[in-house]
């Protein structure tokens, strides 16, 4: 098990480094000058030369990339001219534009992204698992049709459309909710939830359908298993069977998939963050890509990739626990 996890993490690390290298190369070839970005347009040539030196931009691209990689392990010192800015490991470098440490920036943006991802997960689990269980336990054409429709709509609607429609309905027509403006959880939990609600819903509605289907089929499968049948034969009540025995087995794949999706959401809610003004990693990434702030882009992508990797490992473990048929090679 440990060996399996280690191997997987190693492979994931390789993939991440390759990703970072490709990104670096991409931006290196792009037009635009990082020193100018750092200095602003009214910098004269002398100032730009100095900044280029400070930022190490005169080095060949592979040397810069190596500095970046070694910074992650060993940290890095940056000169600001009058003094030295120490960037402790894991150092992801310094924004070309603002000079802020990338790790600091990510630290600031992470809470918003995490709020979005976790809240959405709770919602999709509630909606998805609820619907799924209902249709598994009350099998009939009505619930099945409903679920079919739900799946269809969930599958066919891009999140930015769901999002815009939610804004239109709840924020503009009904005026039940405020136009979303992110409030940190630590500042005001009620406002936090209130302002994120539509974003959570937009994501959850898109995701919930597949959870409903998974829950349903997983529940049906579990209910058909031998040990459940044995319980039934012993006269255990249906309610107890479902709640105490079947649910646990049936929900394992649901939780595993949730872990996976949570990871994806950490790296993927770009459109949602943009639409709902959530100052998270996705929004920062889009902005940094557009101004070609390479260290920030690479740093955020790495963190997002890491989230996916960790989520996968968690999902793997959950699966292994749930289903011994999965061979851990």
């Amino acid at each position: 098990m440990t060996r399996f996890l280690l191997r997987r993490l190693f492979q994931a690390a390789v993939v991440l480094v390759v990703l970072a290298a490709v990104l670096y190369a991409c931006f290196y070839l792009a037009p635009g000058d990082a020193a100018r970005l750092a200095c602003g347009p009214k910098c004269n040539t002398a100032q730009i030369t100095q900044i280029r030196g400070q930022m190490g931009l005169d080095d060949p691209v592979y040397v810069q990339f190596w500095h970046f990689l070694s910074g992650i392990v060993a940290g890095h010192d940056y000169s600001t001219g009058t003094d030295v800015l120490h960037c402790p490991a894991p150092c992801l470098g310094q924004s070309y534009r603002t000079g802020e440490l990338v790790t600091t920036m990510i630290g600031q943006k992470l809470p918003a992204t995490a709020s979005l991802a976790f809240g959405a997960m709770v919602l999709w689990l509630v909606i998805g698992v609820g619907t799924g269980l209902l249709s598994a336990l009350r099998r009939g054409t009505v619930t099945e049709r409903l679920l079919t429709g739900f799946t269809l709509v969930g599958t066919a609607t891009p999140v930015f459309i769901t999002g815009i429609l939610l804004l239109l309905v709840f924020c503009s027509w009904l005026q039940w909710l405020p136009y979303p403006s992110y409030v940190p959880l630590t500042e005001d939990p009620q406002q936090w939830a209130w302002n994120l609600l539509l974003a959570w819903l937009a994501l959850a509605l898109v995701e919930a359908a597949k959870y409903a289907r998974l829950t349903r089929s997983s529940m049906l499968e579990t209910l058909a298993e031998d040990h459940i049948r044995t319980f039934r034969a012993y006269g255990v009540g249906e309610r107890a069977i479902v709640v105490r025995h079947a649910l646990r087995g049936a929900l394992t794949p649901v939780i595993a998939l949730s872990a996976l999706d949570l990871g994806t959401m950490f790296g993927g809610a770009l459109l949602t963050e943009t639409l709902f003004n959530i100052p998270g990693l996705g929004q920062q990434l889009v902005q940094s890509v557009q101004i070609k702030d390479v260290p920030v882009v690479v740093g955020i992508v790495l963190v997002m990739g890491l989230a996916v990797v960790v989520a996968n490992a968690v999902a793997d473990v959950l699966y292994a626990v749930a289903d011994r048929r999965v061979v851990l090679a």
Binding site: R8, Q11, L19, G154, P158, E207, E221, M265, G268
Partner: protein, 367 residues
């Protein structure tokens, strides 16, 4: 059992595997039996027709996509269209755009062209690349297979949307945007199809008739052409049908982020993006592209599902619950990654639809 063999074997049990080669007529008959799929097909046909006939339709209305109508908007109030439903009138069937007063009907019908062209082009590219690389991996030696599989994994794992944004920012502006979008989507999202083809090939390779052909002295490419390609048609067509709507969504998503086609070329995603700031003052402007995108993607999704069932009637519809044959939980979960748009947005531009769930999970970690 090695991982490769495991995923191959699981691929073998899944929907797309080794469908018995069936005649086109038979497939058509099965497809005809599905009302939803037919309706989806009809909607698609209508959209294609509209896209092709866009100049004609605009001419019938008597408008074009670029003419400004300053008189139709209230300049002092920020340019909101005068009149109801965003300025709907006899000469502007769906109203006008706030600020500019450009005709929305013309822009929408022309916009469908971009959506469809980019999505079709990207899908063709994805299929070509995926089939080629999948075949090479499946037929090649251990080293080639290992190398190609790792490369495929990188492409499946990486956040494709982010790369698309980066690439779009890097490519010089002179490059024609629709072609660029096609290339970016196509080059980034072939991983899923390659994995499926490879898994199929590995399964097929062990089958008697393929083995016989190889023993008979056929080279790998000859074997591929004569024995494997025909057997790959069904899964590849199925997968392509699912990729298409996801490509439509990806194009709209990129345009929504402001990095799709450049103005004044209209596209639905771009219209949606500018409309998102107007949703209260002019909700008709938001609803039009949103509903059109929704209906198009829905039609493609339903149609793709129909095609899948028609090609291999042994599997249940991915979309219908309960009425089809019950499948085991894990395979069902596999269909989950489908065209969930945020997943598409998040980088899985290739929806791991037809793959067994475990395989797609392995893909994400680079296993």
């Amino acid at each position: 059992m090695t991982v490769e063999a495991l995923s191959a074997a699981e691929g073998g049990t899944d929907a797309v595997a080794s469908a018995p080669p069936s005649g086109a007529r038979q497939v058509w008959r099965r497809l005809r039996g599905q009302r939803a799929a037919l309706a989806g097909g009809a909607v698609i046909a209508l959209f294609v027709l509209v896209a092709v006939a866009a100049p004609l339709l605009a001419a019938i209305e008597g408008q074009d996509t670029t003419s400004y109508h300053a008189g139709l908007v209230d300049s002092a109030s920020g340019g909101v269209p005068l009149g109801t439903f965003g300025g709907v009138s006899g000469s502007h069937w769906l109203g006008v755009e706030p600020g500019t007063g450009r005709d929305l009907f013309a822009r929408l019908v022309y916009g469908s062209r971009i959506s469809l062209i980019v999505a079709f082009g990207a899908t063709v590219l994805q299929v070509l690349l995926g089939v080629l690389l999948g075949l090479a991996a499946g037929l090649g030696n251990r080293f080639l297979d290992g190398l190609l599989s790792r490369i495929t994994d990188v492409f499946v794992t990486m956040p494709a949307l982010i790369f698309a944004i980066a690439l779009l920012a890097v490519v010089p502006d002179g490059f024609p945007r629709p072609v660029l979008l096609m290339l970016v989507l196509g080059l980034l999202a072939w991983g899923g199809i390659a994995k499926i083809v490879r898994a199929q090939v590995l399964t097929l390779k062990s089958l008697d008739y393929v083995a016989a052909s190889r023993l008979g002295g056929s080279g790998p490419w000859r074997t591929a052409r004569r024995e494997l390609l025909p057997a790959l048609v069904a899964p590849v067509v199925t997968y392509a049908a699912i990729l298409l709507p996801s490509n439509i969504v990806s194009e709209a998503g990129l345009s929504f982020l402001g990095i799709g086609v450049t103005p004044p070329t209209p596209s639905w995603g771009q219209m949606l993006s500018s409309a998102s700031t107007w949703y209260q003052a002019d909700s008709a402007y938001v609803l039009l592209p949103a509903v059109l995108l929704f209906v198009t993607v829905l039609a493609f999704t339903v149609f793709a599902d129909g095609v899948r069932t028609a090609l291999d009637p042994r599997v249940a519809s991915r979309l219908r619950v309960g009425t089809g044959r019950r499948k085991q939980a894990k395979a069902d979960a596999g269909s989950s990654g489908t065209v969930s748009p945020e997943a598409v947005a998040s980088g899985k531009v290739s929806p791991d639809v037809a793959e067994p769930e475990t395989a797609s999970r392995k893909a994400v970690t680079g296993e």
